[in-house]
């Protein structure tokens, strides 16, 4: 892949020099890292080791990769994993049609060996994300998303790439990385990953953020929201997370909710407003019932209590 002209002014040749550097940088591109997040990102750029990011859905695992690519000014190459993903879709594939055409056009007068050498060259290779990341001229950020969705065999295939940054193609030989990509693997922890894979990675566990941290995230994404509403919103979200739900609300959902409240022009969250907008943060019918019952009542009670207190 040829580098785009815009990338020629890349900053990737002066990598971050300290942990606070990378924390500031990530903040500047709109991602508020926790302390361990910044530290592990720093180690990843320094040591050139892949990072395995685990945590519940919607805590910003994928977003971390995107922000890193923005901050390092590197292209993001993304491989979305799913069950049945194989190397033809992840690594490379031979371009059969082009090979056929080549054979046909040269058919008569070339010797077989000449043709054979010819059709197994890089020209006939269709690079898939992993190959793209390895072969790129400029260093990239490689995101292997939801690695836990694939089979164990696929994990095993990744090992060569992750430890040595190279790919072996039987017909061509070894292709080694021209540049070291920053690799992030994300997992929702639906399956235990193999020890071999884990051993090659740094480990980062992202959890739901603490109250203050989440508050600043919400404020970053919905700056117009008033402080009191934002704080109340985050407090409610944290309360909802404590309930036993099928799908607890994630950070993405708190941001959505904040934006929705902005649109509605809300200046306080009371029981009625909560009931109406609840569907933004809770996505299961049974969860809706639970939340309405537990939080709705509490909000109502609170409104009464603070009301009487003010009087």
């Amino acid at each position: 892949m040829a580098a785009q002209p815009s990338q020629s002014r890349t900053s990737s040749d002066h990598p971050p020099s300290s942990v606070s550097d990378i924390a500031d940088g990530l903040r500047a591109v709109g991602y508020l890292p926790g302390e361990s997040t910044a530290l592990v990102s720093y180690l990843a750029t320094k040591l050139g080791k892949p990072v395995l990011v685990e945590g519940p859905a919607g805590v910003g695992k994928t977003e971390l990769a995107k922000s890193l690519s923005r901050y390092l000014d590197r292209r993001l190459v993304r491989l979305q994993c799913y069950e049945g993903l194989d190397e033809a879709k992840a690594l490379y594939e031979w371009n059969y049609r082009k090979q056929l055409l080549r054979i046909q056009s040269e058919a008569a007068d070339t010797g077989w060996s000449a043709v054979q050498d010819d059709i197994f060259s890089e020209e006939f290779l269709l690079p898939r994300p992993l190959m793209t990341a390895i072969a790129a001229e400029e260093p990239v950020v490689l995101l292997i998303d939801e690695i836990d969705k694939t089979d164990q065999e696929f994990e095993a295939m990744l090992l060569e790439l992750l430890s040595d940054f190279q790919i072996s193609i039987p017909e061509l030989g070894r292709i080694e990385a021209r540049t070291r990509p920053v690799v992030l693997l994300t997992s929702n922890n639906t399956r235990e990953l193999t020890e071999a894979l884990k051993r090659r990675c740094l480990y980062l566990w992202l959890d739901y953020p603490a109250l203050e941290h989440e508050l600043s995230i919400v404020k970053l994404h919905a700056p117009e929201l008033s402080d009191t509403v934002a704080r109340k919103l985050v407090e409610i979200i944290q309360m909802v997370r404590d309930l036993d739900l099928k799908k607890p609300p994630s950070i993405a959902e708190s941001i959505d909710w904040a934006r929705a409240l902005l649109l509605l022009g809300a200046d306080d969250i009371d029981a009625d407003l909560f009931r109406e907008t609840m569907s933004i943060i809770v996505k299961h019918r049974t969860d809706l019932d639970t939340v309405a019952e537990r939080v709705g009542v509490q909000l109502g009670g609170l409104a009464g209590a603070t009301g009487s207190g003010a009087r």
Binding site: R231, T286, G301, L302, G309
Partner: protein
């Protein structure tokens, strides 16, 4: 926070040895730390500064602990390790904090002032001050002469004496106003203060005894036992979700040619009529996912009271994941509760409903396995088939009644696979009235009372083919 002890203490040549000791400790707690992880840890430490305790800890965590469970253990071990290391050193050199100026000051402070200062330190997030205040509190409290000697009890007594209360204990009201004179603090901050108290109390105990207490391995209970059903339900759910994947992919898991789709000859021929008999378009057989069919029998008698919350949460999680599933609870007789799970979503409601009207309110309250098997087979005989899986959750304690292993054998024979999850440690099996051996001949029995063991069971499922 006390200054990062080990780096300050050990000169660089001494530190690798320390790190190896830490790794040994971690291994003893079951975290798999390999040589390559250790090398990574050294690499990582080369990149971060020594001065910052948190950075050192996080880099070690990122390289040594590779799952959330490991991470939790790591945190505990790390604290324990770096607490003990400097203490041992201090004992060697006979350094004592006992008669520092701080403690003298503690004698003059009264509790109200102390409370005020603690609240302030928490508000400012000043960890070093918190630690000093913890010492003061212990000194002030010790003057009243109420130390019980048990650290956990003392921590709570001191906290109560200071009237420090968690702000979000009751309702999480936004910016709660303190009522009365009790100081309300964020739960997180209070927890931190308690940790300081605990640590300082331990330090005192060490100084008094002039030796380190034996290093205590982390209790299994510290780790993963789902004691509070609500908070640990999530963990059980996660494991059961894995179980589902394992069961669903079993048999038709991609092996050899089955990995590819099979051509449906009939439909291909039909389609080829359009192109004059030439099969241009291939038609494939649809892949039919295997639907696991599960029968779960769960003991809810008094002998398994402590485990039955865990079992019920397993049942609950199973119901979330499987469509074709029937569950039964039993004590003396059996009762089907599939409907209750289908109707109720919340775990609490389910357990209440089962307690109330599941019809297991038996006369004696003692398990009668023989009767249970007979009734079970009468109820489901026609539905059991070789693709079904039967899982029994129970302790196999028959209270001296006939185990009727022959009937159980019939069940096991009709079902494809039969598993037994026993909440007792293997050590107690077949002691007293436990007759698990009689049943183990017909099924696979697992020890299962933590989510970790549940995971082991799930792993074993894949390895085991009928």
């Amino acid at each position: 926070m006390p200054p990062a002890p080990a780096p300050a203490e050990g000169k660089p040549p001494g530190f690798p040895a320390r790190l190896l000791e830490l790794a040994e400790d971690l291994r003893a707690e079951g975290v798999a730390v390999g040589t390559s992880e250790l090398l990574d840890a050294f690499d990582a430490l080369g990149e971060v500064g020594w001065g910052h305790r948190l950075e050192v800890k996080e880099s070690l965590a990122a390289t040594l602990a590779k799952s959330s469970e490991d991470r939790r253990i790591f945190d505990l071990v790390f604290e324990r390790f770096f607490f003990r290391a400097p203490e041992a050193e201090a004992l060697d050199r006979e350094v004592s904090e006992q008669d520092s100026a701080l403690d003298a000051g503690g004698a003059e402070l009264d509790l109200a002032q102390l409370r005020e200062r603690i609240a302030q330190a928490i508000r400012e997030g000043d960890d070093a001050a918190l630690r000093d205040l913890a010492r003061l509190a212990i000194a002030a409290f010790g003057r009243q002469g109420e130390g019980s000697g048990v650290i956990g009890v003392d921590v709570q007594r001191i906290r109560r004496a200071l009237e420090l209360r968690s702000a979000d204990g009751r309702a999480r009201e936004p910016r709660s106003v303190s009522r009365g004179d009790a100081v309300e603090l964020p739960r997180e901050a209070l927890r931190r203060f308690e940790a300081h108290l605990r640590r300082e109390l331990e330090r005192d105990a060490i100084e008094r005894a002039k030796r380190l207490p034996p290093s205590r391995p982390l209790n299994e209970l510290d780790r993963a036992l789902p004691s509070g059903p609500l908070q640990d339900l999530a963990a059980v759910h996660r494991v059961v979700a894995q179980l589902k994947r394992r069961l669903a992919t079993q048999g038709h898991s991609t092996r050899g040619r089955r990995r590819h789709q099979q051509v449906d000859v009939r439909r291909t021929m039909r389609a080829s009529l359009q192109t004059g008999g030439v099969p241009v378009v291939l038609k494939y057989r649809p892949r039919r996912p295997r639907r696991p069919e599960i029968y779960v029998l769960c003991d809810v008698s008094t002998s398994v009271t402590s485990a039955s919350v865990f079992f019920l949460s397993v049942l609950h999680a199973l119901h979330d994941n499987f469509r074709k599933m029937r569950s039964f609870v039993f004590i003396e007789r059996i009762s089907e509760v599939t409907e209750i799970f289908a109707r109720e979503r919340s775990f609490k409601a389910v357990s209440e409903a089962i307690g109330r009207d599941a019809g297991v309110a038996d006369i004696s309250g003692y398990t009668d396995y023989g009767r249970v098997w007979t009734e079970f087979i009468a109820q489901v005989e026609d539905d059991l088939h070789p693709r079904a899986t039967v899982i029994v959750l129970g302790d196999a304690r028959t209270n001296g009644r006939d185990p009727r292993a022959d009937v159980f054998a019939q069940v096991a024979e009709k079902a494809g696979r039969t598993f037994w999850l026993n909440p007792e440690p293997r050590l107690y099996w077949n002691y007293g009235d436990s007759v698990i051996a009689a049943y183990e001949r017909h099924c696979r029995a697992f020890e299962c009372w933590t989510t970790g063991q549940l995971e082991e069971f799930v792993k074993a499922l894949t390895r085991y083919d009928p």
